[in-house]
Structures are given as structure tokens and as C-alpha cells.
Symmetry: D2
Subunit: 278 residues, 4 copies
């Protein structure tokens, strides 16, 4: 069990699902439309405890997950979503100890997730050209307690990454194809590439460039997240859902660039692998 | 760069996407329908290198990812799929250093993924009642080089977990609702619960039980993975896709069990959070 | 070409896609947030013409489709959606000349669509127990100009349909399984049954009942409609979509009820049929 | 009730869902892997009746639907699928009495469906440049009993349609944008246009052309059909599904071509309309 200390971030979670990511304080209260919650009962208590607002509404004090930090980060940009992040990390081999290079940092949501994965031995080097985004990401990473695992660079990645021999490179910019050769140099052979692109046109250009630039195992996919309302005798998918966030493109760097060849679609094979056994 | 050593697992990847996960040997060759590949050119070379089969077919020698190990593990059971694993881990707070309890182990595919995430400071305790599955998972984890981060137990989890104060508990069994109270005891307050269920009926019963058993923030969802065939001027989704693997149910343990109350749907709030900004 | 007459329904469609279904009048104007549109330029003009609001905004005067009438019908109930209607009609053999029995009428949206399909030789017999819905549907069908092809009955279908030898029966009620035997009597042998149910639980009970009640070829499915934003160089699916409306259950009546038998899943066969050839 | 006559097409449907579309004969039998079915018990019997194969397997004799005829048509081309057809017809106003122009005919699957909808007062004019396809479609339409409602033309539609004042035009060719002006001339003002395109690139070019060529209300969408396996206590979506067939593009012809203007996305409005009320 972990007692909540002053300065810890807590997720205040109402029974109706409304929730807030705030810093625990020894005194004062937090105001919501469901009433005022005194901090007095929070600091020193355990994560998972319940508190009542002054209007009698129950709230739970939860330990924020990485998802909370990134979904509630301060932002001025479109962020990458958890549904997309998880599989992207799996396909590019991002895990504990990995050295990962990323551009652009943006609000730092994806950086936050990747930093949480590479702990404690790995590091994320994240490039951002806009100073306001760089500052915002710096704040967001600090809030998530992950600053030690990230080096945020206010720099133009189109001039090249300083890092080499990286395990993975992530390109989250509008023209990812222009960063494929740059990524190649920063990656170790057999390292993983990931690009995030909202449109089919970008995905198409990126996949084409990767196939001609010393990468193999190129995959392009999208992830649909569909919530279920599971209730006894009344189970159904939610009425509304997000129809699209981004296409994810992943690939693996080869040891050497080679003459481009018509690489056939790995679809059949991959489908076989993906097929659940029944 | 990393030279390939004898005994390393390699992913032999043909240009057409067909691939094999095999152990590198100093001599002999590997037979495929695309020709015979001599090991001579593999050991001592770098990951990412190319080799030719005796029929002149080019193959790439890639470093296997965790996804390769789990998708190509020896198995007799339905496995959890990467598309489902990533978000499940994010929502339950599984990451480096985490202590995770799981049942049933099955073929160990999910165990492999979770073990890869909790390195180096964390550990997965995985219960399996069937000896054949337990043995198969033991082999699969060893093959993936992750045995140090897993304790595989040949034991009946329905009698309770030995672990307490865990960060997360995963139930991948046909009657997950019968393991909710058991999971509660094994979890630290604010710890994460995940259940994996193929049917809507199981999801319904599991969500209902969680809401009455000291958990909050219950979510039920499914993930659809849709591959795109991205080619210049001819981009389109793949003709075939996997229509369903499983519903994922996640929840957070409270400090204390409380009188059940009608917990309203957090849908609106969550939808707002998920909504991309445009 | 068809000149617009006084009393015709027109769809006033703004360039931004906002649109209104209104009755054309010889004088006066129609007020929108994009300005006032004088009717003077509408009656006597052709469908497809353009008119300007007093603020200079261009509007198109389109002939309303059946979709417009049903999506813009007056309603107090959840309606069936066009995405679901089309395939349901195909699978149950609803077309010109068909005799179709339906309950409950609700707002009459599905009735409107089915009536438009069975013209001129067919008829829809639609049962509704609530007088307010019955009246609303009567108005909606008149507005769509389809009253001649519908007999709206203010009656309790649970006591049986008066019709027999129908080509298709549609059950859009919360307990469709209770109407399976009633539908059987109203259908001709080899006639089509359709049920519309929002939850998995209802779909499950309905399919089970059909399999035991003299029906075959039972199918249960859902239809996802995903809009694309197609723009040169910026094509992508829309950010938001409807995640769920209803499960559709279709089946075919047999000549005679028979002893229930374990009817195996027709999945393999149907999948083969559905599979696009590439 | 309708007695089966010699020469009628019947759908022989096995309990396991395997089925055959065949012509009823007065004598002889039909051979399947589930045994031999004698025609003797079929002609003169009613649709919906059961027959036994010589090995004791039960079969149902069903009246084929339009879906059966088109899914089981002889074909050498990719066909349009029922899931896509229904909504396309709704959005373009195709129904009884409509005059519809189509190219290319291909195997005539879509032609079959449209012909079944426009009966008895309407007609489909379908252009095909390849003689083999034209012949195959002629046979398929005859088989479905719909020849009277179709005029199949062995002609090059790129030189223009002979028809004018049509209610709807359907373009199912690889370069639909080249047929937009041709379709404009064949359509009556406020008439409906539909294009069917497998790739995002084609959809993009088609939508762009339509917006500049005297059309409004342009929509681009895809339809996903997801089968449910509904069984008591074991309900779940099917493991496999078709991931993609085609994008459907619909639009409405204006009375006059006008100077192109930036037509804003109708997304918000349309989304509101589509939104189920809860």
C-alpha cells in the first residue's frame, strides 16, 4: 500500500466516471460541479480510498496511470492515442532499456508513453522545432515524473538526428517520408521504425519511401477502439465511437540499403499468423 | 550493431513476407519452400543482414521482436493478440518494475509480453492448472529469453493467489467473474485488473461482478486491427481481416469494498477524452 | 425535368451541407441561420436549381429522397437507420410487389422505407399499440407520399397478425422472440423474417427462438457505416462515427415446423460467398 | 403458398448452411457431398419444404432471394456486395419505377439488384464494353428472371450514354471521374450519382471531380458487415470478416453546372442526423 504524499498527482474519480488529474495538497479543497472535496482526507490516506464532497458525492482517489497523464496532458496539438501506441511499441520493439528517437515531440503524449516503457535503463530523445511545444512537453513529462528518461531537444530533426544505433525511431510529422533516410542513420540494423499519419495519402507515400530506402517488413494499419456497454441483459456497443485517429506505419531497418525490388505483400502470411485458432 | 551468436534466435524474413523464427547455428542450413539457407553466412554477421538461399532467393536476418516470440510460440490454446495486449497493459498500469499476477498461463503468449514489459525490476507470477500448458509456457518463455522475469506456477488459482500487493492482475479464463474476489486480495489498492473474454456473455458477467466487488473505473472494449495495403495510387484496406478475438475488461481496485451503488456509465467523459482535436 | 409545384416537399441544401426538408409554398420565405430564402424562386422552377438567401448564401433545391423523409421524420422513438435497412430488405426478399407485415410502427421510419420498396403492387401492414406513435407515423407516411402503400393499424400484434401468406415480417420491438410464432403464421413458406435489436442479449434470444420455431438460414449481423473525408492529398476517415445502432437478425420460414436439431453454423459457407475475388 | 414448378430456380439449403442454387427438374437427382437429393420430392411441393438426401441428410428447398442470384451468379469480375448495394440505392433514390443507367455491367450482379428494385415500371440501361462480360450478364439476368427490366448494351459508355433524364447513374469502373460529365448529361436534375471504387485514390479523384462538375451533396463512405454468432451464453462476433470491398461515392446532380466553390464538409450536419437518440 502506498500512502499519498503532498505533491503527488492523484486521479479524483467520481462514481459517474467524471475525473480530474490534480496535485494532492495538505490543505484546501478541490472544486467540482459535484461539490467541493477537502484535501484533508487525501494526503496520508492510501490510493484507492474514497472521499466525500461537501454535497455528499463519493469520489475515489486513484493513482494515475500513464494513460491519465497523456490523455490529460496540456496540449495544443493532436496527440497519439493509447489504442495506437500499444501496438506501435510492440511492433517496433520498444520496451525496457530501449534507446528511442522521436520527432516531433508535440505535446509529449507519445513521449510520455515511450518514456514509461523504456525505464529504467533506456532513454527517449525527442526533437521538436517549436519552442512552445518543447516547453509544454517539458512540463508534461515532469508532471508524469518521467523527465529522467527523456531528453527533449529544441532542434530541427530535418537536419539529422545526433543519435545513432537506436532501437527505434518514431516520426510523428506531416511529411514522414522526408525523415526516412534520417531515421535509417539513427537506427541500429534490425531496429524498428514507426510513422503516424492521419491521411491515406501520407501513409501511401511513407510506405513507398520505406520500401525503397533500406527497410523491410513494412506494415500499415489502423486500430479501431470500440467500447461496450456491458450490463446484465442490456449489453451493446456504445452508440458513438472515434472513427479515425491515424494510420500507423511500421518497418524494420536492414543492415544495408539495397537496390529496390518489388517486395510482395506479406498479407497472406501475416493473416495466417493473426488468425485465432478456434 | 549486434553480431549474431550461435544459439541466438533469428527471424528469417523472405521478401514476400514469409518468415521463420529459428535458432542460429554455426553450421548446417535451414530448409524452406523458397530454398535452402546456409547458416554459415548468419552467425557472426549483423542482425539486419541479407542472405541468399541456394535458389537465389533473398532473405533478411532480423532480430525477433516480442511479437514474433508470442505469435510464433508453440501453442495448444487460443492466445491473446498484440492488438489487445498493448492497450490492456496501458489501462492496467503494467510497465517496468510492475508486479503482475496472471491466470491461466496457457501457452504463455500474454505472459511473454507482460514479462517483456516489467523488466528488469518487475515480475510476472503466472498460474496454470494444466501441466501440459505449464510446460509449454515454460519452454516458450525460455525461448523468448524472459524466464528470469516470470515465475510460472503449476497451481489452481481458484484457491487464491499467494501474492499480495500486486500492481496488476490478469484473468484469462472462461469464468473470470469467479476470480474477481481472488484478484482483489492479490492487488494493491488502486491496482489494475484485466479480464479477457471472447463472448459478450462473459464480458457482461465480469463487468457486473467487478462493479459489485470493490472495483471502479470499469471499462469493456474491443480492438479492431485493420491492415492497409498502401501502394502508390492503389491504397486500400486489406480484403480480409480478423473480425473478433476478445473483449477486454479493465478496472481499478478500491482500497475498501463498499456497498454496491448504481455506478453510472462513464461514457460521456471517456468519449470526450478520447476525442481527437481537429 | 420536373417543375416544383406548390405543396411539394423540397430539400433546401446549403453549400455547407446543412439542409431542411420543407413544403414548397407560392409565397413567403423560409428562415435559416444562413439567411431568408424567398419561395418565389422555388415554385415553378426545376428540382436541382439554386436560390440565394437574402444574405447572398447559395442554396440548392433538391428532390427529397426516401432517406430524407425517414431521417427527418417527426419522431419520439429510436429509428432504424438506412445502413441497416438496405441489407435487411435484401436478405428478407422485400421488393416491388411484396406483402410485408411489421410491428411496431414507431415513428414509421422503417415503414416509410419498406413502403417505398414495395410500390406499386405491394403493401405494408404495420401494427402499433401506442396511439401517439400510430398518429405520428400516419403523418410521416403522408408527408412522404406513401400512404397508399401502407395500412397502419392501431393494434396489439402480440394477439396475432390478421395477415397470412406474407412475403416478409419485420419485428422491431424489445422482445422479438415473443413474436416469432406470430410471425411464422403470417409468413408464407420460404418468406423472410427480420428482427432489429439493440442489445446482444436480445439478438441471442431471438436467434435461439428462431432456430427452434420452424425457421432456417438464421443470420445475425451488424453494419458499420464509416464516412470518408475524400479531399485531394488529404483523404481520411471521419473522426467520429456511430459505433452502434442495432443487430439485425434475419431468417427464412420453413413449410413446416420440425423437431429442433442442432443446426451448425453456416459461417464457413457464408464467408466463402462473401469473399471478394481478387 | 407457391408450388415449385419444373424449371424454377430453387435454393437447396443444408442444415449446416451449405447451399446450392439450382434449377428444379421433374426427374433425376442433385449430387452434393452430403448425399444425392432426388428431384422427385421437389417439383410440385411448396417452397420451404424439406427433403432428405439418400444418406439421410435433411435439406430445405427455399425460394432464392435476389441476394442468392447475385452472390451465386457466374462471374469473372469482382462484384458489388449486398452490404454496399442497399445503402447506395437508398442514397441515390433508386426504387420502383426508376430509370437507371449503369456502366460497366461486369457480371451483372449490381444490375440484378437494381433491376429487382425498379420493377415493374422502371428500367436499367447497363453498358459493357467487353463482349464476354455482356454475355455472362445476359445469362445471369435471365436466370434471375429480371431480363424484362434491363437493357444490356454492348457499348462503350465513354462515348456517352444514349439515355437522358435518368433518375440515377451508377459508375462501376476503374476511372469513374472520366464518367462524371457523361453521367451529368444522362441524369435528370436532382438525380442521383453513385460510384464504386476499391481504392482511396479513386474515391479521392471521384469526389474531387464531382464537386467541380455540377453535383452537390457528395458523400463517400464504406460499409463494414460484421457477423455475430448468437448462441445462448456464447454470443460473439465471427472470427473472420471481410475487411474491405469498396468505397461508395454518392452525389446529386444540380440543374446547372456552376462555378466551382469550396464546398464545406457536411460532416457535422450529417453526423447529427445519423446519431441515434438514446
Amino acid at each position: 500500500m502506498t500512502a499519498i504524499k503532498e505533491g503527488d498527482y492523484i486521479l479524483l474519480y467520481s462514481r459517474k466516471g467524471k475525473n480530474w488529474l490534480i496535485k494532492a495538497s495538505a490543505k484546501g479543497d478541490f472544486h467540482t460541479h459535484l461539490g467541493r472535496i477537502p484535501f484533508a482526507g487525501v494526503v496520508g490516506n492510501e490510493f484507492g480510498c474514497s472521499v466525500l464532497s461537501d454535497t455528499g458525492q463519493p469520489f475515489y482517489v486513484l493513482k494515475p496511470t500513464v494513460e491519465d497523464f497523456l490523455m490529460k496532458c496540456e496540449r495544443q496539438t493532436q496527440i497519439v492515442y493509447p489504442k495506437d501506441m500499444g501496438l506501435m511499441a510492440i511492433k517496433t520493439g520498444i520496451g525496457p532499456g530501449a534507446k528511442v528517437v522521436e520527432t516531433g515531440t508535440g505535446s509529449g503524449a507519445l513521449t510520455t508513453y515511450v518514456a514509461s516503457l523504456v525505464r529504467p535503463g533506456g532513454k527517449v530523445y525527442s526533437y521538436e522545432i517549436r519552442e512552445d511545444f518543447h516547453k509544454m512537453a517539458t512540463k508534461n513529462l515532469a508532471k508524469a515524473g518521467l523527465s529522467d528518461f527523456v531528453e527533449l531537444k529544441l532542434a530541427d530533426a530535418s537536419k539529422g538526428f545526433e543519435e545513432t544505433d537506436s532501437d527505434a525511431v518514431i516520426i510523428d510529422l506531416g511529411d514522414p517520408w522526408n525523415f526516412v533516410d534520417i531515421a535509417w542513420k539513427a537506427l541500429k540494423p534490425s531496429g524498428g521504425f514507426a510513422g503516424i499519419t492521419p491521411t491515406t495519402n501520407q501513409a501511401e507515400l511513407l510506405v513507398d519511401k520505406l520500401k525503397r530506402a533500406g527497410f523491410t517488413r513494412t506494415e500499415c494499419f489502423e486500430i479501431l477502439f470500440r467500447k461496450m456497454e456491458a450490463r446484465i441483459g442490456m449489453t451493446r456497443p456504445s452508440t458513438r465511437m472515434i472513427g479515425h485517429t491515424a494510420y500507423i506505419v511500421t518497418a524494420t531497418r536492414l543492415l544495408e540499403k539495397e537496390e529496390p525490388a518489388a517486395e510482395a505483400e506479406p498479407e497472406t502470411e501475416a493473416d495466417e499468423e493473426e488468425a485465432p485458432e478456434e
